[in-house]
Amino acid sequence: MARRKEKVCLCISIPIICIIIIIIICATHFNEECADGLYKKAAVAADSETCSKIGRDILQLGGSAVDGAIATLLCTSIINPQSMGIGGGSIFTIREQSGKVRVINARETVPKAFKTDLLAMCPTTTQPMEGAHWIGVPGDIRGYERAHKLYGRLPWASLFEPTIKMAREGVPIPYVLSRFLPLLLKEKPESSLRQLFQNEQGELLKEGEIVRFEKLADTLEIIAKHGADALYVGDIAKELVSDIQNAGGTISLEDLRSFRASEFGAWEVTLGEYDMYFPPPPAGGATLSFILNTMLGFILSSASLEGDEKVLTFQRYVETCKFANGLKKFMKDPQFSSQTEAVEIIQKHFADKVRAKISPDRTYDASYYNITPYLDSHG
């Protein structure tokens, strides 16, 4: 009888001890401290500390990664206005907790009426291309709207608040923006863009001086309150179209009204132990995946950067890039051209074929890489 009791006791206590051990291991694992400079819960990497912090604050308020990204982008539109803004377009790649990866594409589109000889105006060298005829239908806010509808956790308006406040109160001109402001000296003194960045004496603002974006703050406030439609079908749309047409552009209310952000599954390739997810053309992820797929086959490690191996590694890399340059012509809008070649170049067998053509110690003429001439973009 006593032995039976002992057995029952053991049967009950062993699983309990096991559970306690598992709980202790898990608790230790999850409470592990991270080294200095690392984060435990969440992070944002943007082009400025100001905007990374705004994104982080949104996450700490309970916002989703999408909420954080939208608030960060809005902030960037006034910290680095030379780089992006709601008059542009964007492409999101979003990984859900389940592992599903979705792409939201809000890249600009050609308006319904465009200069038929537009491409004849292309320069033959890389240079700034100014003028209303180059404006594509802006998609940014439609992209934010779609992403927020699918994944937003905080109210839409709350994502705009930090940027509206900064735009009204003014922000010190950051170093990076200050380096590009002299480009505006080319504009006429009465140009509204130049006026935005000059003081009452007509001098361009310098690093650290305060710039206010009052009109943009009004626009953002209306979009925050009334949603994306305010920009695409409301009064702001009329004002925007009127300004574009006054500058000689062709974008119409119909172009804004009909703009849609598209949404689809990401393309995926396996790179060793990693699954890489990226947007399909017209974005450049397929070219990137081709380069990585080709380089992966050379069996790389930290030793690849030591001694003579380093030269060989970079020889292989630059040769791969030359082949990649020949593939860029396939990065086109799938609505208007076939995706067959783009699908082909992300395949392993394609990378294998190209790798076999790469010499360890020589390079070739452009024809070897099947390159048709094109211009580099400095966007």
């Binding site: 984060y39 819960k41 969440a42 992070a43 944002v44 990497a45 943007a46 082009d47 990374s52 982080r56 996450l59 990664a65 982008l73 960037t76 206005p81 780089s83 008059g87 542009g88 964007s90 999101f92 790649t93 890249r107 600009e108 589109t109 050609v110 308006p111 491409l119 292309c122 700034p128 100014e130 003028g131 209303a132 594509g136 863009l193 974006f213 009109k215 943009l216 925007l240 500058a247 060793g272 990693y274 990226f278 947007p279 070219t287 380069i291 990585l292 790389l300 490690s301 030269v311 890399y317 630059v318 990649a324 990065m331 609505q335 208007f336 020589r362 390159i371 001439p373 580099d376 973009s377």
Partner: protein
């Protein structure tokens, strides 16, 4: 162009690239709305003979997410810099995933960009021995002063997150 990488507490990740194309876009500023407009149609130049209403121009934008199920490692990455986007992201990933560098070192390492004329553009401070060796092999090389590749990335491994914004644009990441 700008790139934002975000990793939230619940594991959701966002990699997003946004642009008005060239510096100050088309330089057309809408005074009534305060919006600065893009010059994205310039991206068709030299890449096609014909464009269509509704068509999106080709782009180098590559907002990427990588995940290793075996190592439970996620990398959220992307870049700005026009044609240099591909260079920036490719070399950062090779440095980080295969060459064993930290994310910070992977991003800040000087790059070599192969331009559309197949000329090798070396970032100042790139390894001189490699540069000279590649020149001897027969590559055309130059060392421009301006480089636009700016990579921003977040990586999570072993329950710790590292976030890096490229110092080429004075960036700094934030987290908690």
């Amino acid at each position: 162009t700008t790139h934002v990488s975000v990793l939230a507490e619940d594991g959701m990740a966002v990699s997003v690239t946004s642009t008005i194309n060239h510096i100050f876009g088309s330089r057309i500023f809408s005074p009534k709305t305060g919006i600065l407009l893009n010059n994205e149609l310039a991206d068709f130049c030299g890449k096609t003979d014909q464009i269509h209403a509704g068509e999106q121009p080709p782009s180098s934008m590559s907002p990427v997410i990588l995940y290793s199920p075996s190592q439970k490692h996620i990398v959220v990455i992307g870049a700005s810099g026009g044609s240099m986007i591909t260079t920036g992201v490719a070399l950062t990933l090779m440095n980080f995933l295969w060459f064993g560098k930290t994310l910070q070192d992977s991003i800040s390492a000087p790059v070599v960009f192969v331009d559309s004329k197949n000329v090798l553009n070396f970032e100042p401070l790139f390894d001189k021995i490699v540069l000279e060796s590649l020149y001897k092999i027969g590559h055309k090389v130059k060392v421009p002063q301006m480089f636009y590749n700016v990579v921003n990335a977040v990586s999570k491994e072993n329950n710790c997150i590292v976030a890096v914004s490229d110092s080429r644009k004075n960036g700094k990441a934030a987290g908690y």
